[in-house]
Amino acid sequence: MGGWLPDNVATLLIDGSYLLVAFLFIMGLKAMSSPVTARRGIVVAGAGMLIGTLMSFLYPGMGNFPLMLVAIAIGGGLAWWSGKRVAMTDMPQMIALYNGMGGGAAAAIAAGELLRMTAEQPGVATGHGPVVTALAAAGAFIGSVSFSGSLIAFGKLQNLIKRSFRFKGQQVMNLVIVAATLAIGASLVVAGHPAMQTVVLFFALALLLGVTMTLPIGGADMPVVISLYNAFTGLAVAFEGFVLENAAMIIAGIVVGSAGTLLTQLMAKAMNRSLGNVLFSGFGEGEVAATGAVAGALKPIEPADAGIMMAFAQKVLVVPGYGMAVAQAQHKVWELCQLLIDKGVMVRFAIHPVAGRMPGHMNVLLAEAGVPYDLIADLDEINAEFETADVALVIGANDVVNPVARTDKSSPIYGMPILNADKARNVLVIKRGQGAGFSGIENHLFYLDNTRMVYGDAQKVASALIHAIKAAG
């Protein structure tokens, strides 16, 4: 393949194709910013990726083509197979996994470059100046953190890692690892011809940091972390793009890095927490469980009565949360809502920005079930409507509807914008058991006079509600 074109022609073709790749990526991402054109967007970006990959075979002076094809077949094949099979509810961890692979690939590129430097003889001019070496090392650092961190995030969301590891001095330990990694990285740049052991130690520490940074973070904070690592991988790719003088990698990496940073901030903001707070505080790990006793009692209701309550309502607002995802209840919930709509009830879905394990996680699940997106509203759009709603149906959501966030300054979620489900005339809460949510904070909403609890698996309860409404005629 490579070599049958004159080098200058091949280079021209590659450069031209990369310009096209950058254009297609940006057009694709732009199209993805509206639900109407989003589908076209990914196809456009995909065309860019295909062109870039095919043209890269033309690079002058390349070999190892059989290995390359085998590697693409293995990586691409496994990803295709797993991506087609994964359930919509498991999307967050798959995205974390693919993202980690990108970070790992960027780190591998850097490893190749840095190892080549160790092989160079002292005194012989190196291929890279200190700036390029520094960029390679920075990309290696960020890419490695993103790789191991994403794998841990995947393990936690997939329930392979069951608990969050915390101990005193954890932050100090992380800081020490960061400092050590940066110091070794700096020595690589200064040395010019680093020892092999130094490079290996550098990667080992960076990989370790990803693990120790991610292990203490609770499930509720995973959306922010995945988004952060997505931005990290983008940056790592851009840095390695500098090293390889590859414009497509620089542009794509920086676009993703900046977009990912913005997205991460939007999400952290939606939880009313700073990014540092997400990464370095013990939220959601039981330390905060001692938030005072609650007045009132939990008042259970049978699904049959709850169904009748909704059948005779005029306006029902549905607030889905992670519990709906766990129970795979989205199809039954939509069936229930369609039944209500046919009866003339106005139904809307109210989505909190951080409901679930990813921003927009609920939207994806509802879309899978076939809910039209114009029935789905986000927090700002819908919050005023709770006051005129007859029923707020809370399905497996907890902290995002906890009124404590408005009132109790001592609560860890104080100040987080919440959905005002408590303002609805009646509140129905579908919940698996009586325990507090993942944050360990008692939810005052559940104890209000106008709240009724329907205990059970969200899918089974939704079926029971459908049955009740049908029986009511």
Partner: protein, 101 residues
């Protein structure tokens, strides 16, 4: 690449990324995160170059790993994003679909 020109590219790309995302509705955040995850799968082409220029066995192993991971990022990112976006439909679309069916 000229250092200054590279900096221009970085600046413009950073603004582009920011602007593109700033207007995205919340309902598309997950597909978008997934879509941008796909876009940095372009790391595959860099890994291909790294493998293509590898001479020693160690370099080949590292390059091979890079290409496997990069291809996984690109293909996996595409498949899941496409699957998610395929599901987004407006009420109007659905009716049209029913009528045509």
């Amino acid at each position: 690449m000229e250092g200054v020109i590279a900096l221009y590219i970085v600046m413009l790309a950073a603004f582009t990324g920011y602007e593109v995302i700033a207007r995205v509705p919340v309902i598309l955040h997950t597909p978008l995160m997934s879509g941008s995850n796909f876009v940095h799968g372009i790391v595959l082409v860099g890994a291909m170059v790294a493998l293509g220029r590898a001479d020693t066995l160690l370099e080949q192993v590292i390059g091979f790993t890079g290409v496997v991971l990069g291809a996984g990022n690109a293909v996996g990112g595409y498949v899941v994003t496409e699957r998610m976006l395929e599901m987004f439909r407006a009420s109007g679309d659905r009716k049209k679909k029913k009528e045509s069916a």
